[in-house]
């Protein structure tokens, strides 16, 4: 069931929503209903999403070969 929630309540919920931590279907429906009808909150969510994606893309690293070799050597001794 959808309830009209205000911006303050939506802001409190939106990080949990973006992080997949809002697991109650009614809370998700209320939040999405608000976001669909509030330009300001919709805009914030879009910006947060863009920032999250940039952080993910930028801060992901592959381990260097020297570390992989080192760990492989270590594992031989286990």
């Amino acid at each position: 069931m959808k309830h009209d929630i205000g911006c303050l309540q939506a802001i409190e919920a939106f990080y949990a929503y973006l992080d997949g931590e809002l697991d109650d279907p009614d809370s998700i429906a209320d939040f999405e209903h608000h976001a669909d009808h509030c330009r300001s909150c919709f805009s914030r969510i879009e910006i947060e999403r863009a920032l999250n994606q940039r952080i993910q893309k930028t801060a992901k690293h592959s381990s260097p070969e020297v570390l992989r070799d080192r760990v492989a050597e270590l594992m031989k001794r286990f």
């Binding site: 409190e12 997949g20 914030r44 952080i55 992901k60 690293h61 080192r70």
Partner: protein, 195 residues
């Protein structure tokens, strides 16, 4: 399970998570060689305490917790960079976003409500990493674990030995601080200024 099976399980788990471990270690230590040392040390410690892993499905939070504990007990003490202590570390669960926003300037709030999309599109990777690295460690760690590595709040709480509510409040504050750092880098801020 035999020693061979246990070793195979452990090796596969390390192989699966080594990139992620290195990424987190790099943001914790901020130095490549220290990050490599931290991962190697964590792998050695994890193998030595493999018997403490009661649920093998929890391998990821278990080995990250060992790595974080190793960082806290060994590397942080050796760090020449001071540990930031001037920020509220988000321990208060009533540290809600509304109160965080009340602490910010009106100009920031206007920008935060609708920052220029172009700014994010053009934001250089190194500037973003610099902003992340300048977050106080308590916030930097949760942002990396949740945002970059996809840990749940519960898993992050397990890794750091804190309550899930504290993870939630640190995420809010960490993101707000990150946006403030990025706000300080916004285009046009220094235009018109002459040395």
């Amino acid at each position: 399970m035999t020693h061979v099976d246990t070793k195979a399980f452990f090796g596969a788990g390390v192989e699966r998570h080594i990139d992620s471990m290195y990424g987190v270690a790099l943001r914790l230590t901020r130095v490549n060689t220290d990050a490599e040392d931290l991962v190697a040390e964590a792998v050695a410690k994890a193998w030595a305490s493999i018997d403490t892993l009661s649920d093998r499905a929890r391998f990821r939070p278990w080995i990250f917790r060992i790595m974080h504990n190793t960082f806290v007990s060994d590397y942080r003490k050796k760090s020449i960079r001071p540990i930031e202590a001037s920020f509220n570390d988000g321990e208060n669960d009533d540290d809600d976003l509304a109160s965080l926003l009340n602490e910010q300037s009106d100009d920031f709030l206007v920008w935060w409500s609708n920052p220029e999309r172009e700014f994010f599109n053009n934001l250089l990777g190194e500037k973003l990493l610099e902003a992340l690295d300048n977050l106080p460690e308590a916030f930097r760690t949760v942002v990396i674990l949740v945002n970059v590595e996809g840990f749940t709040y519960d898993e992050t709480a397990e890794v750091l030995g804190i309550a899930p509510g504290t993870v939630r409040s640190r995420m809010k504050r960490g993101r707000t601080l990150l946006q403030k750092v990025l706000w300080d880098q916004r285009p046009g801020l220094h235009e018109g200024k002459r040395p």
